[in-house]
Amino acid sequence: MIPSSWYLILSAVLFTMGVAGFLIKRSLITVFMSIELMLNAVNLSFVTFAHDWHAVKGQIFVFFVMMVAAAEAAVGLAIIIAIFRTRQTLNVDQIDLMKF
């Protein structure tokens, strides 16, 4: 028996790591993965809260987040492929045709 807050803290830490990844990673793909990490962290929160409240809705929310993540992955990776075709790079710092 452990407090729910442990799970929540874990989720917060993972989320923050995802944010950090979004900021420091330099390849489009890994930046995108960091976002996935954030979503996963949120999911953990949802499941924990669902358990806390005995509310199934929280779990269903996670289910929908997964579907959305899948859709996002399809589109995001398609964009990444398109960008690779035109620019031959995935480095965030070289995707800079437009600035301020």
Binding site: L8, V42, S45, F61, I79, T86
Partner: protein, 491 residues
């Protein structure tokens, strides 16, 4: 128990979905070589039908359907009509300007129609789960449309920036929803409002509110969550910018109202100061950055950030007046912005053949009608009386003053003075005598579609400025969909 069949409550969404599917099926059924312009007409007619369906909903009593996930009321209908109208104009403009040899024409129109489903649903959803899905539909559509010029470096760059930052913001929104769910045990907006006062952990509620605000403010491109806007507008095809600078934003503002007034009315004193700061930041950052832009679309992007700021100023108002002002501003903003991007599409084409402000020099001498329309929309953006832009700004600031945010109104109006600088620079460039060898204008045959579209936008802008009565009434009745707002208006 519920005398209205559930389906009536989502009729516009259903119509749009069917239209989208129809477009796709027709696209597949048409021979490969045939022109696909007709698909755009199908989509446009579908949108008109959806608009009509939204108007039909006026006959329904306000209420929810599908187990409290979706609600039709004056508010949702107002935004339904608005969004359908925007989508219609965007479609009409695309019809004549979308490149003929593009191999993804069918997808283009289908995507716009499906995107509209998400946008309209965002305004009527009262279940955060549905809100989330609808938001994602609208966002993902715009990510894709932003990257439609996929052979141009800027096009895909716009798409990837929009996509990554948008998904990032979605993460925050979700986390916010999770915390709210944790605090209240529900994700139904009206339920949340009921449970918040008794919630055991107010810290969770506040944290959730803040994170959700981050997510939604990103979608309306308010500073400091605006960084994506200029790049995306610059890189995306102009007819798409006409759509995505208005429709998703209108939906996002509707969502913001729905969430704040629907779920968090008791925390009014918390979110008003936050939005105060964001509003000031948005207008200031937007305007100052816009002053130094050379690219037309970037300039308008920053201007739209500033407009988000003016709009957010209205949140400082009290009760229904505030919501009325926001709804009205959204409509006016949509009319003039969709109009100006439509005009720019005509002048500079799908592929931006006139990207810079300087390229527009002498347009008034070369294409007076087009330039006149452009000037008209610019004047409205400045906020000169007898245009929708003025009236919207007037309402927004007057509700802010009424709500006691006197300084906000002053900062806002000073900002709109500042904004006049760059709008006028553009206007003046258009009016200036042309140079000796002006850049080629793209030769679009001004067809019936684009003419109707642009006239619709201009007419709306004018009517909103001269005879805003009816729309104001609609906005007021929209505002009366929120019991919390009504009760806070009463002394």
């Amino acid at each position: 128990m519920n005398p209205v069949p559930d389906l009536y409550r989502i009729l516009p969404e259903v119509v749009l979905t069917i239209t989208g599917v129809l477009v796709m099926l027709l696209d597949a059924a048409m021979p490969k070589t045939s022109r696909r312009r007709v698909l755009g007409w199908v989509a446009a007619f579908g949108t008109v039908a959806a608009l009509y369906a939204s108007l039909l909903q006026l006959n329904l009593p306000a209420g929810t359907a599908y187990y409290g996930t979706v609600q039709t009321d004056g508010f949702s209908i107002f935004f339904h009509v608005l969004i359908c109208a925007i989508v219609l104009v965007a479609l009409l403009v695309s019809l004549d300007t979308f490149p003929r040899n593009n191999q993804h024409t069918g997808e283009f129109y289908a995507l716009i129609t499906f995107g509209a489903v998400g946008m309209v649903l965002m305004t009527s959803a009262v279940e955060l789960l549905l809100v989330f899905i609808a938001l994602e539909i609208s966002s993902i559509t715009t990510y894709i449309l932003a990257g439609y010029r996929k052979t141009s470096g800027k096009g895909v760059e716009a798409a990837i920036k929009y996509f990554l930052l948008g998904s990032f913001a979605t993460g925050f929104l979700l986390y916010g929803i999770a915390l709210i769910f944790g605090a209240t045990g529900t994700t139904q907006i009206t339920e949340i409002a009921l449970r918040i006062p008794g919630a055991q952990s107010q810290a969770l509620v506040l944290g959730g509110l803040a994170l959700m605000l981050v997510g939604i403010l990103f979608k309306v491109s308010a500073a400091p969550f605006h960084v994506w806007t200029p790049d995306v507008y610059e890189g995306s095809p102009t007819p798409v910018v006409a759509l995505m600078s208005t429709a998703p934003k209108a939906a996002a503002f509707a969502l913001l109202i729905r969430v704040l007034w629907g779920a968090f009315p008791t925390l009014h004193s918390v979110w008003v100061p936050i939005l105060w700061v964001v509003a000031v930041l948005s207008m200031t950052v937007g305007n100052i950055a816009a002053l130094r832009q050379e690219n037309v679309k970037r300039m308008l992007a920053y201007s739209s950030i500033a407009h988000a700021g003016y709009l957010l100023a209205a949140f400082a108002g009290a009760g229904t007046a505030s919501i009325t002002a926001i709804a009205f501003y959204t409509a006016a903003y949509a009319a003039m912005n969709v109009g100006i991007f439509a005009a720019i599409t005509l002048a500079s084409g799908y592929d931006d053949s006139l990207p810079l402000i300087q390229d527009f020099r002498g347009l008034l001498h070369r294409a007076p009608v087009l330039a006149g329309l452009l000037l008209f929309f610019l004047i409205s953006l400045v906020g000169i009386p007898f245009t929708g832009g003025f009236f919207a700004k007037f309402l927004s600031f007057s509700t802010a003053v009424n709500g006691g945010a006197f300084w906000l109104a002053i900062i806002g109006l000073l900002n709109s003075g500042l904004a006049a600088g760059y709008y006028l620079r553009f206007a003046v460039t258009i009016a200036q005598p042309p140079v000796a060898n002006p850049p080629e204008l793209p030769t679009y045959r001004v067809g019936i579609a684009v003419a109707v579209g642009i006239v619709l936008a201009a007419g709306a802008t004018l009517i909103l400025g001269i005879a805003p009565g009816h729309i104001l009434d609609a906005a007021t009745s929209a505002a009366h969909s929120f019991p919390a707002a009504i009760s806070s208006t009463l002394p």
